[in-house]
């Protein structure tokens, strides 16, 4: 494995059909945790399970099609929005899908599919990147601070979309956030990471109330842990 040890003593459960938010001070290893789930990085030890199967036993390419990911920035490919949405599907030259339908799923006008992705606002582009992940019909969606580059209005739209996807189709979502008000709006459950260790998992209300038996969690909720 390359570089320093970033995560240690991680024991996190992500219940099916829920939105689990990963929070923690910067440098806590939140993004690293997400990348260990779809194996963009290889854990030196330990195991990630997907629906009971160790992910190390799943072909990484297959695994990443079953686990979608949305990044801090959209990073769209292709000359049209349609190309961008269907990128993952076309990698295998497999089944056809309707880009317009996928755009509707993320609250965008289907007629946008002919446009150059770069002509869209960053908020729209980010929703296209969600549609691109949905095109592969994933079991789990990883979201790595998906609203950190968006303005307030665009941020709200992505948050609403996140909740909708979860409620409408029961999509399991693991979302990294640095923003407690966002956690309050979208999370079902919260996982706190500090210096690469998981401090615990709580229901959203319990965690945000600060009435938890974990000193670091209390300090984090009160903004004393940066």
């Amino acid at each position: 494995m390359d570089g320093a040890e970033i995560l240690k003593g991680i024991d996190v459960r992500v219940p099916e059909g829920e939105i689990t938010c990963v929070v923690g001070p910067s440098g806590a290893g939140k993004s690293t945790l997400l990348r260990a789930v779809n194996r963009l990085i290889e854990p030196t030890e330990g195991e990630v399970y997907l629906a009971g199967t160790p992910t190390s036993e799943i072909d990484p390419l297959e695994l990443r099609r079953r686990i979608g990911m949305v990044f801090q920035l959209p990073a769209l490919f292709g000359e049209t929005v349609e190309d961008a949405v269907l990128y993952g599907l076309r990698l295998r030259g497999g089944k056809k899908a309707d880009a317009g339908e996928l755009l509707e799923k993320v609250g965008l006008d289907p007629s946008l599919k002919e446009r150059d992705p770069q002509d869209l606002s960053v908020g729209q582009q980010q929703r296209v990147s969600v549609a691109r992940a949905l095109a592969l019909d994933p079991e789990v969606l990883l979201m790595d601070e998906p609203t950190s580059s968006l303005d307030e209005a665009a941020r709200r739209r992505v948050e609403d979309l996140t909740q909708e996807l979860n409620e409408r189709s029961g999509l399991t979502i693991l979302l990294v956030s640095h923003d407690l008000s966002q956690v309050e709006r979208v999370a079902d459950r919260v996982v706190l990471l500090v210096e690469g260790r998981s401090e615990g998992e709580w229901g959203k209300e319990e965690f945000l109330s600060g009435k938890v038996d974990n000193e670091k969690a209390k300090r984090f909720v009160h903004g004393e842990l940066e």
């Binding site: 290889e42 990484p60 390419l61 990443r64 099609r65 990911m69 490919f77 990698l91 992940a133 592969l136």
Partner: protein
């Protein structure tokens, strides 16, 4: 050979007066280049004189084996130079040497096979030198470009991997861009040859008293040979070096990124 040969070369030093112009400009405009110019003048004199004697020596041996040996040495030196410029690319020396070597063997080999040039030291050493020099530059450019772009476009590469792309699929836009930038200079100079400039080989032959049409024939061979060898070197070094930045499980090697 010997002292007489050195005397011949030494008359070139009369052209040092022209270097004085460059030094004067550097001093007058405070470019700070006079040190570099000095090093360049001394190195070029020593290196060219040395290779002149080596080539003359190999000519005297009339043995194609020594020609091959000399060219192999040039390939290794080219690989080494290239790898120094592509710092941070794992196994750059091996990759560059392999790419330059294959480019040289294929192109020069084809010229021999088709009997476009005779198998003599007089042709093989200068032609081989040109192929090796150009392939070396291409290998350096391609490797450094891939190294820089993978770091700069890390997000895009990861986004593609996260959608189930293989390393090759994820790196494909970077690979294309680096191959293009490595090949465009030679394509451009092939387009403008004869209009804007007369290349060194052709100019040299004409000055040396060769028939201009014979000089043109050889120059055409040289241009096509360089196009071929640069393409071979770029593709080989590109396809070999991008792999170093990924694990077999299609993961970026973060420790190699800047």
């Amino acid at each position: 050979m010997g002292l007489e040969g050195l005397g011949t070369v030494a008359t070139a030093l009369l052209a040092l007066g022209l270097v004085a112009v460059a030094v004067a400009l550097s001093l007058y405009e405070r470019l700070g280049l006079q040190g570099d110019i000095g090093v360049a003048v001394v190195r070029s004199f020593v290196q060219l004189t040395a290779i002149g004697f080596v080539i003359q020596f190999v000519f005297g041996l009339e043995n194609i084996g020594y020609v091959a040996l000399l060219l192999a040495g040039m390939v290794a030196f080219g690989g080494w130079t290239s790898s120094r410029r592509a710092e941070g690319v794992p196994r750059a020396f091996v990759l560059a040497t392999a790419a330059i070597g294959v480019a040289a063997v294929v192109t020069v080999g084809l010229l021999l096979l088709l009997q476009i040039v005779p198998p003599t030291a007089r042709y093989l050493i200068p032609l081989g030198g040109m192929v090796i020099g150009n392939s070396m530059n291409t290998a350096s450019l391609t490797m450094s470009r891939i190294r820089d772009d993978v770091s700069e476009q890390r997000l895009k590469v990861e986004a593609a991997l996260a959608l189930g792309a293989t390393s090759r699929q994820a790196v494909s836009p970077i690979l294309k861009a680096s191959l293009r930038s490595a090949m465009i200079p030679i394509i451009d100079s092939t387009k403008t040859v004869g209009l804007v400039f007369l290349p060194g080989a052709m100019a040299g032959m004409i000055i040396g008293g060769a028939d201009p049409l014979e000089a043109v024939r050889l120059q055409i061979v040289v241009m096509y040979m360089l196009l071929g060898s640069v393409s071979i070197a770029a593709i080989l070094v590109g396809l070999l070096s991008y792999r170093s930045f990924f694990t077999p499980r299609h993961q970026l090697r973060a420790s190699l990124l800047k």
